[in-house]
């Protein structure tokens, strides 16, 4: 995974169901930030759902095949990049199983009628940024975040499940990247507490107090907002919080793109349930 020969200009990009719909603002801002950094994100042609928690719970084999179809669509010569931590997890887990079980690999290749490369690199956007290095970020910096106090909220999945723990550990990098852009990370809040995932839909009564706890922990350390790498976390934190005053919750890509000088932020921020514009205006980050 820490292969230095990895070229980070052309990347296959797997958006996933959330970024395609409910979190479109994350998708758009990601594309923009990537463009400014000189990355060419090529959306994976005709991708499908990564398998998701639900499919994995009901039928592991269908979920596995769903993940593998995506792998069969990815050209081997460029890394496959995901933004959603759960998608990353399911894609990587499927890839690891294919490497362990040659007979399954052959069966899946026959099923899809396409070769599947065991050398395919599956990476998260955060890893791409870390590999690009601070110099590139500094070059692109247009709007210094001016000490914006944020809680880097990772949620439960990014780099935590056993199959994501192999390879380089990118713990803390969300905070590091935004610090480089002038933000001030506050890490003593509940940065890795699970957002409630699918329970948010079926057992909101269980999730609401937990989300409130996460938000309260951010307020307690003096944060002005939370920044998260997961679109589902962002949604759950926004819709399940019953606590006042509400802190804005940003997609990581939004803050990144904003710092890199993106101008069409109006369209992203109007999609938030908690309007972040007053905070950003007070901080003189937007007009």
């Amino acid at each position: 995974m820490s292969d230095p020969s990895l070229h980070l200009t052309d990347l296959s990009y797997f958006p996933g169901c959330s970024l395609e719909s409910s979190a479109r603002e994350s998708n758009i801002s990601l594309m923009e930030a990537a463009g400014i950094l000189g990355l060419n994100l090529i959306e994976l042609e005709d991708w499908n759902c990564c398998g998701s928690s639900s499919a994995n719970i009901l039928d592991k084999e269908i979920a596995f095949s769903l993940a593998v179809r995506n792998l069969s669509l990815a050209p081997a010569h460029r890394p496959l990049m995901a933004m959603c931590p759960r998608c990353l997890y399911h894609l990587r887990e499927a890839h690891q199983r294919l490497a362990r079980e040659p007979e399954t690999l052959r069966a899946q290749e026959r099923r899809w009628g396409r070769p599947i490369s065991l050398d395919l690199k599956i990476i998260h956007f955060l890893e791409v940024l870390v590999r690009l290095g601070p110099a590139r970020l500094h070059q692109g910096l247009v709007r210094n975040l001016n000490g914006l106090k944020f809680v880097p909220y990772y949620g439960c999945t990014l780099f935590r499940p056993p199959s994501l723990r192999q390879g380089t550990y990118y713990q803390g990098e969300l905070g590091n990247v935004l610090t480089m852009l002038g933000g001030e990370p506050l890490t003593r809040a509940l940065t890795h507490r699970c957002c409630g995932s699918f329970l948010s839909a079926a057992r909101a009564d269980v999730v609401t107090p937990l989300v409130n706890e996460i938000l309260a922990s951010a307020v307690a350390v003096g944060a002005e907002c939370l920044v998260t790498s997961c679109a589902m976390c962002q949604l759950n934190l926004e819709i399940r919080c019953t606590w006042d005053p509400r802190l804005p919750v940003f997609h990581f890509s939004e803050i990144l793109a904003l710092a890199l000088g993106a101008e069409d932020y109006e369209g992203w921020f109007t999609r938030h349930l908690v309007d972040p514009r007053p905070l950003l205006a007070a901080r003189k980050l937007i007009a």
Binding site: S21, N48, R193, C194, S197, A201, I239
Partner: protein, 196 residues
């Protein structure tokens, strides 16, 4: 959906261990199916202290392991805990013995479905079914469709209506589903091989 009564049901009178009901091979089976050595658990309860969802559970995670060790198959498969568990792995990060508790829960859920056990959290199961239905239809999860069908299934049209409406107003739920072009590649996965 019955809200779970008290945590640690293990000690309540209706859960006295009936030897005749014990399944001697349960621990071995779960161990093999989940790829996790649950004999290493020494019931320190770190997992339960870590789990964010413990309040929604009837048994804390280590009690589920205990049920399995005792061979109390029905109690384990019919617990709320296995459905409330979202697989966030917070517990396994804390576990001093490196036990993959989420994998044990996943295995128990699978057995519960395969054996037609009484499902303690039918709403959660219904939600998963609707997600899978959407994937079968479009190849992707279509949130609005999932929520509408889920609400119809559980007859709770007005619960959470405000959240739904706010999401619609912010266009967080698209009316039209984004779909996979080669949809037959997806739907084929859902047909048993002997019918294809």
């Amino acid at each position: 959906m019955n809200p779970p009564k008290a945590a640690l049901k293990l000690w309540s009178a209706d859960n006295r261990i009936v030897l005749a009901e014990q399944d001697r091979f349960l621990a071995r089976d779960i161990q093999r199916l989940s790829g996790t050595n649950l004999n290493r658990c020494y019931h320190c309860r770190s997992c339960g202290n870590a789990c964010p969802f413990i309040r929604g559970m009837d048994y804390p995670p280590n009690a589920i392991i205990r049920l399995v060790q005792y061979g109390l198959r029905r109690q384990a498969l019919e617990s709320h805990t296995i459905w409330i568990c979202v697989g966030c792995h917070t517990c396994s990060v804390q576990c001093p013995m490196g036990i993959d508790i989420a994998a044990i829960m996943a295995t128990l859920r699978r057995l519960a479905l395969e054996e037609g056990a009484m499902i303690a959290e039918t709403n959660i199961l219904d939600f998963h079914r609707e997600v899978l239905h959407s994937i079968k239809q479009y190849g992707r999860a279509h949130k609005l469709g999932i929520m509408l069908r889920y609400k119809a299934r559980v007859h709770q049209w007005f619960a959470d209506l405000d959240v739904g409406l706010r999401m619609l107003a912010k266009r967080k739920m698209d009316l039209k589903a984004s779909r996979v072009q080669a949809i037959d590649e997806i739907t084929r996965l859902f047909i048993p091989h002997w019918k294809r």
